[in-house]
């Protein structure tokens, strides 16, 4: 019962304590695909520097949800405010939000016709108007941080999956975003490459980046997350700090999900 209180009040506590630092505000948000109601009444406040892991069975709407935050998907009802800008049909709003929100995809989505370095520089040069020299220097810095500076002049096709995903992380970071979204970043990787990507993400988390990760890596959730959100059927079923979430889940659906994924 106490956990229930905590999980429900957790948000309000965050809200009141860091009200000025709320960076993502989602309120009564709904989304439909045609007549299919994918996201139902989502409410979420993310404080600056908070690390959130979203998990749930496939088809629960978790990817759709984070894709709404940089408007790769549009919501039809409710409100999403990112870094003080409300997401509406206004293209200028969308562009200014996307500048501040980096995203890492399940399938990397690197640009195959550009070298690793060019992949990292294209957005800073064309969106942020950074001079090329400076953009390249920044890119090399981030490539060092994800531990692949020596691959800078190769094409994505010449790299392993794990390396590609680390480039994708570096590419997003080169825009110096305030928020990073991860959409199942390790799901398309071979098992031996998952660790190198998770290590990069853990390192990023320790630097104070605001992160929203959709992932099935429960170990990552335990070590890094401030809050774990469980979604099912398009709803947020439970939201709690990791130790409460894993050791003492409140909702039967959460319990069942955890039993399924941790039971082997």
């Amino acid at each position: 019962m106490t956990e229930q209180m905590q999980s429900e009040q957790g948000q309000t506590v965050v809200d009141s304590a860091k009200a000025d630092k709320t960076i993502i505000h989602v309120e009564a948000m709904h989304k439909w695909y045609g007549s299919f109601h994918v996201l139902k009444n989502l409410n979420l406040d993310v404080a600056q520097g908070e690390r959130i892991v979203i998990c749930g069975p496939s088809g629960s709407g978790k990817s759709t949800f984070i894709r709404c935050i940089n408007r790769l998907e549009e919501h039809q009802q409710g409100k999403i405010v990112v870094d003080g800008v409300e997401l509406t049909d206004d293209v200028r709003h969308i562009d200014s939000v996307r500048k501040e929100v980096g995203m890492v995809f399940q399938h990397f989505n690197l640009f195959p016709h550009m070298t690793v370095l060019e992949n990292c520089c294209v957005a800073p040069i064309w969106v942020r108007k950074t001079p090329r020299k400076e953009a390249e220097a920044t890119a090399m810095e981030y490539l060092k941080r994800v531990k692949i500076p020596d691959q800078a002049n190769k094409y994505p096709g010449q790299l392993s999956g794990g390396q590609q995903q680390r480039v994708a992380i570096a590419r997003a970071l080169c825009m110096k975003p305030k928020i990073m979204l991860f959409d199942e970043p390790t799901s398309a990787l071979d098992p031996e490459m998952i660790k190198e990507v998770l290590d990069t993400m853990i390192e990023l988390a320790s630097s104070g980046m605001t992160m929203l990760c959709v992932t099935h890596e429960m170990g990552f959730a335990k070590t890094v997350a401030d809050r774990v959100i469980f979604m099912d059927g398009g709803e947020i079923v439970e939201s709690a700090p990791p130790h409460d979430f894993f050791d003492n889940p409140q909702e039967p659906r959460t319990q069942q999900f955890l039993k399924q994924i941790l039971h082997h």
Binding site: N70, L72, V91, D95, R98, K99, V101, G102, M103, F105, H107, F108, N109, L110, F111, P112, H113, V122, A123, W126, V127, Y155, P156, G157, Q158, R171, A172, M175
Partner: protein, 360 residues
């Protein structure tokens, strides 16, 4: 760890290869013998006709004796085949354009040629402007040469070149428009493409030259050649649009999303991310369309423009020259082959260069 070994060497032994591939079964032996016999009997006479017995130089048709080809005919009328009725004294203007065309595009075949990229860009932008000033003349003290005097290879190249340069960007815009989410733009592009594509070029040319003037207000009458150029370009751009749309459809959604997520707006996303990949994918289709256009320019004959085929065709009926039709057509075929083969080689070159070995 066991040591890496070199792959086994495969020695090339011609005799063994022939035994395995040409003489391995009775029907292959038969086929080999027949083909070798046919090549053997035809290549000699062909070479004789083309070169050994052929007449290359001389003063007039009577010098063409013997069984070989009368290349003297081409030699003598080359000026007409190149420039049409363009006045002799002004032909240096066309020569400059031929020269610039070569300067812009021949280096594209030579890897590591200095500044070849800039030459290519010049060929796409500066060259048409210079041509527009130089060829018709009428300004900067240049004598005006009416477009009805243009002809021959020069006209063929102008038609093909303008068609190519014009239809590529137009085709890109139409292809993007057809995939637009805005119904008005999409509708316009669909109608444009479907209308133009459903009409044969010959009809387009005929309409442009005969029908269009009837609809235009009195006094607004632009030249036949210009009308043909506009017709060819619009017609070609409809085809180009569909080729490019094929490429756009092959680009996975993730590429669009990654571009958007980085904050690139529509036009930047298209220019930097989507189009470079889409166009690379459809290079064979684009060049195919270009080659098709190059051939189709010969249809301007029906509206009374004399391209290279037209000039040759009108000359072989000249009573002074007898039986030179074959020579004429071989010459035309050779000219077309040089340009089309060049385009084809260039496209292969480009494909190799742009292949980064990875299709997402």
């Amino acid at each position: 760890m066991s040591e890496s070994m070199a792959p086994p060497k495969r020695a090339f032994a011609p005799v063994q290869w022939m035994r395995d591939n040409l003489f391995n079964t009775w029907y292959n032996i038969l086929l080999t013998v027949v083909v070798v016999y046919m090549i053997g009997t035809s290549i000699g006479p062909l070479l004789n006709w083309l070169f050994l017995d052929a007449t290359f130089t001389g003063a007039d048709p009577k010098d063409c004796v013997g069984d070989g080809a009368c290349w003297l005919f081409i030699n003598q009328r080359l000026n007409f085949f190149m420039y049409g009725f363009y006045p002799d004294a002004q032909q240096w203007r066309v020569d400059i354009m031929f020269f610039l065309l070569a300067v812009a595009f021949v280096p594209q075949f030579i890897e590591r040629f200095p500044a070849r990229r800039w030459l290519g860009i010049f060929g796409m932008t500066g060259l048409p402007i210079i041509g527009y000033i130089l060829i018709p003349g009428g300004w900067f003290g240049l004598e005006e040469v009416q477009s009805n005097k243009w002809g021959g290879l020069m006209l063929t190249l102008i038609l093909a070149y303008v068609g190519i340069i014009g239809s590529l960007p137009l085709g890109i815009i139409l292809a993007l428009g057809r995939r637009s989410e805005m119904p008005v733009i999409r509708g316009f592009c669909v109608i444009f493409i479907e209308v133009w594509r459903a009409v044969p070029l010959i009809t387009v040319l005929f309409m442009a030259s005969v029908m269009l003037p009837l609809f235009l207000p009195e006094g607004m009458n632009f030249e036949k050649l210009l009308r043909a150029l506009i017709g060819i370009t619009l017609w070609q751009s409809a085809y180009m649009a569909e080729v490019i749309r094929g490429g756009l459809q092959a680009i996975p959604r993730g590429q669009y999303e990654a571009g958007s997520a980085l904050g690139l707006g529509y036009w930047r996303k298209m220019r930097l991310i989507i189009l470079p990949q889409a166009l690379t994918l459809v290079i064979p289709g684009i060049v195919n369309t270009f080659i098709g256009l190059f051939m189709d320019t010969t249809l301007v004959l029906i509206i009374g423009l004399f391209d290279i085929l037209g000039t040759v065709q009108s000359t072989i009926t000249d009573p002074a020259w007898q039986n030179v039709a074959i020579e004429g057509y071989v010459f035309v075929a050779f000219c077309f082959w040089v340009f089309c083969f060049g385009m084809s080689r260039y496209s292969q070159n480009l494909e190799r260069k742009l292949d980064t070995g990875h299709k997402t």
